[in-house]
Amino acid sequence: MRRRPGWVSVIRVSRVHDVGGQTGFGPVPEIPGSQDSQPFHADWEARVYALAGVLGRRGLFSGDELRDTIESLPPERYLSASYYERWLEALEILAARKGVA
């Protein structure tokens, strides 16, 4: 692939999750006592969190493997999913990959 000086091709840049330091998202909201300060917005989110903890402690995967799987979701899925939807999708992928699904 030909490259112009100072340009980088898309395949050389990070996966979709790596948006730290990127402009355009606005300031990080910090609202103590608001809904956003709660750990879970729905019961299913707490169950996903607990499931990940149990499977991790049983040795099915490491925390870094879970992160890697979340970061490997197709960009369109990653960007349209909520935080725990990403966790759930990664758990499904890992369970299938490890042969326990």
């Binding site: 980088v8 395949i11 840049v13 730290g20 330091g21 490491s62 925390g63 870094d64 992160r67 890697d68």
Partner: protein
Amino acid sequence: MTLRPGTRVRTSSADPDHHTRLPRYLRGQAGEIVYAGREWPLPDDVARGVAAPRAETVYTVRFAAAGLWGTGRHTVLADLWESYLEQADGEGEGEDDGQAGSADDGQAGSQDGGRAGSADDGPQEER
């Protein structure tokens, strides 16, 4: 190898195809060691299920915001594993033009640009 506080370093410009703790905005950047911490398993290895992940010293590294984004008077601290870093002391030495000798943040920016364009190490798979 243990890098001492005050050591000038440059972060890796590599873009690995797996989980890593070197964020994109710190890739190929000049910084300074602030603190040498204890050894931790390298997340890049753990994420790939490597049986015996490398344990490496994790350093707190300071970067000038202006060097990262071209603006800002503050600094940014990041905890980075040793294999993300190379020592930058003497960088630019041996080059004949005097400009390279006075390496500092302003110049680092343009160096980064050059590196990004020519960094063709390791053919990344096209997906």
